[in-house]
Symmetry: D2
Subunit: 302 residues, 4 copies
């Protein structure tokens, strides 16, 4: 099928390549021109603007956005909503908040434009292994873009699904990321305890490799952990500074809004906050309290 | 090689079958006779007592214990230590505490008997997929039992490793289980939030299946989750009562003994305690306090 | 001073009494008439409507709202904003979200009406012991209502303060409640462990009383705990069902928005969710997973 | 009454003073001589050795130990058990593990010596305000030392109690400290969020003072917090490094042994571990995983 990809970053660029390898006709646009050139070299048709993307597609158009969540996505959707036609399909494959998605879908529906949200997982490995795609929106819109979904996914009938109405795709992707935080933290804690047991002098890379086969904790994240530990199990040159994207915190907000306890996912998020604190005021205050009631020694800044 | 298996429960029985299929000569013993009969039908040599096991093996003997952690393991090791000879190898494949293992290994070493601890993961699927084996002990002992390890593991050189001295195998298995608790809780929380979002009417089985391919959270536990959700995504006839074996709590004790924070693993354990409480005295006391300071209504037992 | 109180529930009714005892002239209004009658009996001037409240006060008017957070507060503020005059002071003593407060203050400032937010703590004991008052807004507005604040507080110069601009009062009260959740949960857990130690047959009421004097954990919440345990330390007729007001969850949202770890406050909130769940889907799924991988027995609904 | 105090550190020294002020006859001993001199100056009889303590008391002797938990306590009890007589009372006022206490009580009972465990709270303020005393042991032994308990406590009938058999006193003190950890962490988190809200420029000392009167969160720990914040609310010269004594972790072990969820107390302990980590291997591993799956940037050690 013919489809456009707007946003050729780490995710969008690879997805464009996978679509081209799948034999689709692809129009591409990116704010900076280099990724457009690269995609052209692989057979894509470069566009010089968002308007040019719209011009270069036949109706019903299918335009896939792969942009950072936030204002740029809002802006591009606004622009496209003025250019696209009844029956066109606009897909947001980024990590947008599902509430924004529901609002945008309603606005676009008023103009007869289909809005499909596609939570996309798989990272930089998606190019070779395929992407996990959680799709929300109207069935007739999803029918139109199905050939692209089948190509992007690991297999024609695996790793993608139409999970519900508009917003459901981004909602499911949000929870996916919350689970991911919890799993990552579980591995990280486990390996830290292994490492702390100095008397056994364990080889953490060996253990990660061993667990990859036959164990209950085998997973793709463990495969990656083994890869990360291959060179230097001490991770000596890394700083323990861990970013978080919006979806982890949205998961926590959602759990609270639903009165659902999600203690492990929530703590995994909070441990990332901890990792980014140079110093903890809370800990200072604890030290000060202990000093007050017990005369316990405190450590002073030198 | 020739080897004995003592304890033919869910784990030991399947391991016996896998060893037999691998062409090893196997002597088997179990407290109740039926599993012995079953193993004989597959080609094993049944023994009528622990003494008979020892008699039926040539030296250096290799005896694999697959018993519940605790007093029965202690008792059988005591018995065998009086019957086995210098150079024999006794393997504990169960979930023993690594501190017990270190003590037992020292005692047996005094008699010239090798003691090998083998943390074993894989559950009831190990028969077909192979077991993950975390092996601790002396290299010369492990060399003796290597053919059995290569058969039990998923592949000759995958899923098993000699991770360190006596105790290290059970230590690594213990942490494995701690990680498992954290991962399971992460999935469980995520699926509970998905389910709570009634407006999207999500199909939890569909989502579990979808995530199995290409997503960051794909894992064997997710494969099992998908299987569990296949029949009834509501799990209507299940009670939310979750047991825990010793290894989760030992992981928490170890983390605390090492001054290592392991908040997610610890909470995953505690949520299992919660699942088993009919009522929480803590929650009653919270309700009573709120009533005291704010005059807030409490719910009375009817 | 002359002041009006709108909302004569558990909090507002007691505050009206305390103001009357302090010699202030008080106009009162409540949706249902009984509390108005009661306040009149104590010397208040009853009003028949919000308009009547405004009519019965001289300028600059001071009107104190003691209403449930949410739509009713919004509605009454809207009404009053159309009736009050430049230089009047409207006080919101309820548990409003500080972001709503900031918005309302800006709207009222456009009309020249002062809006003061007063986070109020103390519960039903405030009548006799005085209220803790966390006040946000313009200094000139707070100067006007200072006599009322000095009467409501435990002492003229204790237990109340002007903590910052509009919103700061409700913000500080919000965090106050977050801390309260954490403290309550800490006590609740401790007493549950004491109770679980059946071999010592501890008298929980005795221990709460003992700790009230000289111990590091002495507090007003402990005083209340002792009172709650006086009759029946088993709390036999109470259900462990714990409500939460908005402020606990807002504290968690705020912490996350600020990238501040607040694990204990957050968990205290989540344990209240747990207390209100009849059954946990997460726990069911854990049981189902254990059954899948280990063949572990599950408990079935009978 | 006549009593001896062995161990004149921060706690024991102050307790000696309080006993002397209460008119008791006091024999004192300490490893280093200076505190003995100081107590002599207040009216105590100095002893030159543990044997000398025993010699200087009439029977039935009462000897109070105020020593660090661990080997020194074990050693001194061993020594005294060989010197004391039937009917004498040995009191352990330190933070011993209640299981050690139960064992010691049984051993001493065989010799006819009473062993009383007295969990002691109050810190350096106990001298002036009295100590909270949680007493375990035989009623007849506690009757003997009752005059000393009444003096040490805040009032004759407040702040001390005979809570159960041997071990119960230290058990209750252990849980007391667990609760203390949770409360402290709740305050610490709350104040950190207040501080993070830079737009309100809150005065944390003012807020702590304000909450001391009338609020639900008023407590002795809050009084101390206010004192700690008086000089420098930023705590600029303090490091956020927080020690923990044995009792917090013993509380967690006990909760787990009892299958009781104690998530807040446990996390409070773990946040102290976090405060003492220069760098977190777990966080490094999280950063490494994110880099592996998403190509996310990591921070390198410079």
């Amino acid at each position: 099928m013919d489809i456009a990809m707007i946003g050729l970053g780490k995710m969008g660029g690879n997805m464009a390549s996978r679509l081209l390898r799948g034999g689709h006709g692809l129009v591409v646009f990116n704010r900076s021109p280099e990724p457009v050139r690269a995609a052209e070299a692989e057979g894509a048709t470069g566009a010089t603007s968002i308007e040019d993307v719209v011009v270069k597609l036949n109706t019903p158009r299918a335009v896939w956005l792969m942009l950072p969540a936030g204002s740029i996505t809002e802006e591009v959707i606004d622009q496209l909503s003025g250019m696209m036609s009844v029956g066109d399909v606009l897909i947001d494959g980024g990590n947008s908040n599902y509430k924004d998605t529901m609002r945008r879908a309603a606005t676009l529906a008023d103009k007869g434009i289909y809005f499909v949200d596609c939570g996309t997982s798989g990272g930089i490995w998606g190019l070779s292994e395929g992407y996990s795609l959680m799709v929300g929106g109207r069935p007739e819109a999803i029918a139109i873009i199905r050939p692209a979904l089948e190509t992007l996914a690991p297999a024609v009938d695996q790793g993608w699904a139409h999970v519900g109405p508009s917003g459901a795709g981004h909602f499911v992707k949000m929870i996916h990321n919350g689970i991911e935080y919890g799993m990552m933290q579980a591995y990280a804690e486990g390996f830290e305890i292994l490492r702390a047991k100095r008397e056994f002098d364990l080889d953490l890379h060996q253990i990660a490799e061993l667990w990859r086969y036959g164990s209950v904790v085998r997973s793709w994240l463990l495969d990656l952990t083994a890869a990360a530990l291959a060179e230097d199990p001490e991770l000596s040159d890394l700083r323990g500074w861990v970013a978080d994207s919006g979806e982890g915190r949205w998961t926590v907000f959602e759990a609270i809004d639903q009165d659902v306890p999600a203690p492990v996912i929530t703590l995994a998020l909070q441990m990332r906050f901890v990792s980014r604190q140079d110093e903890s005021y809370a800990a200072k205050l604890l030290a000060a309290m202990r000093n007050q009631f017990g005369g316990h020694a405190v450590k002073r800044v030198e």
